[in-house]
Symmetry: C2
Subunit: 148 residues, 2 copies
DNA sequence: TTTATTTTGCAACTATGTTGCTTTTATCTA
DNA sequence: TAGATAAAAGCAACATAGTTGCAAAATAAA
């Protein structure tokens, strides 16, 4: 990553935290930075590793929970029972997530992506059922891994 | 449950195990019976509790894994990071699951149901992505919990 | 019924997630 | 900018979830 982009991300991080009424701390800056630098989603374990063993495990848990609560990141359930986290788009706010896109898990690189342009389909439920949220996770091969 | 139905289920259980080349043991019978008696899906914890503390935790893990491998049950990922298990329809076989239905998690009773009649929709993926499996989990209120 | 194979239970271990409390850090205000 | 106040981090201890190796027990086969 170029120096210019690096500086830009550092600027974004402080902004984003303040906009959500969060005090700006080292761990929050570092973890948020990881998300901004990263194309796909991150699991808790990834973050612990990539934060350079600088922060306590508990801090990572609490930071992620705070970010979810504030609508900065959202969770993605996957078949292997390991929750992934990814940045929300701007429409999300504290206590109110508005992510209607689908998620894609690559069977090759095992990265998880938000496909922001693919909205969740309407599901025709049987009589008596009513939906409040629809989660779609597609498994397959991502565009970086496809055979050309 | 009536006596007649009970006997019928016990019969099914042995059949189902033999058909899948599994030796018929107490724990397999008991756990499979739980699934047959149950409308919704079961989490690992449910099974441990409802098997009456008769079996070792490890046995439950291994039995569930065996059933998944043989195509007797399938897993359902949920947002709270607790995998649920449910019976497969007959089309599934060892190493080859064919479940194309969607799953429904009730926010009231927190039961999980397979909606076998609702097939997973076609998803239009961006260029470069290819899908091998689509998982749809709908949250909301189930037909047993709806206000009438 | 005996033998061979599979499965279970146990013990120990690793990983994952949570809670209470003290110390440290960030923010607010004078 | 320094001190007061509020928030977050770190630590320790704990709770839960999941795994592995191995000996004992149960099942299936001969």
């Amino acid at each position: 990553m170029s120096k210019a982009v690096q500086i830009n991300i550092e600027g974004q991080v402080g902004e984003l935290l303040k906009r959500n009424n969060l005090s700006v701390t080292d761990s929050r800056k570092k973890i948020l930075q990881l998300f901004l630098e990263q194309e796909g989603a991150l699991a808790h374990g990834d973050i612990e590793k990539r934060a350079g063993e600088k922060f306590d495990r508990v801090t990572v848990y609490r930071t992620l929970q705070t970010f979810v609560d504030k609508g900065i990141i959202h969770t993605i359930p996957t078949a292997d029972n390991s929750i992934r986290y990814a940045l929300c788009k701007d429409e999300c706010s504290a206590g109110h997530h508005h992510d209607h896109h689908i998620h894609f898990v690559c069977n090759n690189c095992s990265n998880t992506f938000c496909l922001d342009d693919v909205v969740t389909p309407e599901i025709n439920l049987p009589k008596g059922y009513s939906a409040s949220h629809v989660e779609v996770v597609v498994e397959g091969i991502c565009k970086n891994c496809k055979l050309t």
